[in-house]
Symmetry: C2
Subunit: 343 residues, 2 copies
Amino acid sequence: MPRSGGHISAAPPTLADVAELAGVSRQTVSNAVNNPDLLRADTLARVQDAIDKLGYQPNRAARSLRTRASHLIGLRMPALQEGTANAMMDRFVHTFVEAAAETGYHVLLFYGDPADPLDGYDELLRSTAVDAFVVTDTHLGGQQTTWLQSRRARFVSFGRPWTQPDAKHPWVDVDLAYGAEIATEHLIERGHSKIAWIGWHKDSLLGEERRSGWIHAMHTHGLSTTGLASRTEDSISSGKAAADAILDETEPTALVCASDTLAMGVLHSIFERRLRLGEDIAVVGFDDSQVAQTVPPGITSVRPPLEEAARELVKALEELLATPSYAAPGVMLKPVLTVRGSS
Amino acid sequence: MPRSGGHISAAPPTLADVAELAGVSRQTVSNAVNNPDLLRADTLARVQDAIDKLGYQPNRAARSLRTRASHLIGLRMPALQEGTANAMMDRFVHTFVEAAAETGYHVLLFYGDPADPLDGYDELLRSTAVDAFVVTDTHLGGQQTTWLQSRRARFVSFGRPWTQPDAKHPWVDVDLAYGAEIATEHLIERGHSKIAWIGWHKDSLLGEERRSGWIHAMHTHGLSTTGLASRTEDSISSGKAAADAILDETEPTALVCASDTLAMGVLHSIFERRLRLGEDIAVVGFDDSQVAQTVPPGITSVRPPLEEAARELVKALEELLATPSYAAPGVMLKPVLTVRGSS
DNA sequence: ACCATGGCTTGGAACGATCCAGAGTTTCAC
DNA sequence: GTGAAACTCTGGATCGTTCCAAGCCATGGT
């Protein structure tokens, strides 16, 4: 049965329906949508009227098939750790989706086995389901990015190419060594001099970077760091254990933690010792998570500009998709310190 | 130039490439992928070999165009409130993406103007970009669901149809009246009798539901509720204000809060009064958010089974997409109480 | 009056898959 | 040995869009 163009039907209207109603050819309607300046003003108006009247929207599948572009960006669902304070990704994803929408892209969330960093990418790539990917965990090693590069996939990463300094893909990252530095300097300004560091293990690239900021600030101000550093897992219990040990041994008056999770561990220790947070002892965390924002009296925390990062990534993505050979310089953003009651 | 089937090329292999390599027709390859039992065993093996050799995956756009199914589920990015403890959606989305992946669906995240609950749906619907939606904020009024229904869109909702008891779409929700009940009973068991309620305004459907659970538990145990209830905004500062007022007036020994955010407000009040949480006073929250899990000594909280909810929704979605006329009974899940140091 | 120019519009082909109807082959009962 | 039924496989049409090359029609220079 031929499609009865003109009046309301169950199936969505097609280009042909609009063309018939406007009395032009299909191609002219297509041009009205994609290259309006090719049409004479009066034709454009007539076509536009028909489009509005029918509520026409181009069929995405058909358009994708022809143009070989899906206008979808793939984002692998970041692993969710129960119990840690890292809901940071939420804020990032939110702005990313918003910024992407402004340039006509939607986000395809997919799942991959946490044990295999590459799981899920291949299928989407081969089925040409997405135009590009956003990779978020570059600090776990360059597996994902090198693999994507070898498959000639388009992608940008949130996180510098830690292990491949010569990587060519666009990236955006936050300078968290600087973050540790301003956190430490904030405490120095507040009159502290025995400022401890509770961070991650030596093999954590992120951890070592943040740690270097603390060391730099301390040394710049002529303060000693001996006996004040601690390395442990990123969990509340190990944060508490580390705090217990360092508070017993060295009696610092302030602690800088590599994450809000560790900071919460410190709070547990303080809670047990019946110390007053922000009065007897100062604590600074990282990430400016929900937890840091809400725990009384509020935890001073290094806030990464996730919104800005997301927007920069979308911008890079746009250029990358417009110019396949596009090689952007990496963008390094500076975090800010959100000061709260804990310091 | 005709496609040179057989050896590696930049463009992904197509059905025709596989067919040529296996020495069968396109349709046979298509059947091998979609209806393997239609083929003779040896033919299937031969085609499968060719598929593996070329690394063939059906092109999603082409398949979508023909079958009118995208295998994508639309999820509008829930509004993100800075400063509240509600990162609950994260957990939900995570399991949802995972469960959806198991049944061959991916999730399309899209953005809509927070001021307009319908923004974004129309475009995706008209362009046939998604097969169905998941609606998450049904308590804000039935606008989204009624609109989707009128457009004959397929969808399921996380949240009962509050204002339309006769709605036909599948839904899943959590019985949070029951949640408030077990929270209150937990406190009664612990020996409390003056148990206050800090909840939301009267026009909040969710708030009134939770409140009814508290009232029911109190009355069942012959306890009075007069002077023990408070209604306010869902924010830390108003939680603190409500706690201040109720602690001054009625001196309860325990408080049940309609959300972890309010519970955090209560904690601020307790912090100021230098009371010991879990010793001098007990607090129970809702949502079992990151914050409840991490704040020392841990906040006892009503935990909605989000993972189960997500899986139920995917199941309903699957049936809905298989049988367009499918009308599922709503599913009501029971939360559990996670007991921590605050009680 | 004629041809070149450029702006605007058009029909046919193509993207890569699945649907459909029919052709070829085997199986099996009579 | 024959016909029907069942099983396999195939070619052509189709989904809705954009690409392509060609067509139409005014305009303007010669």
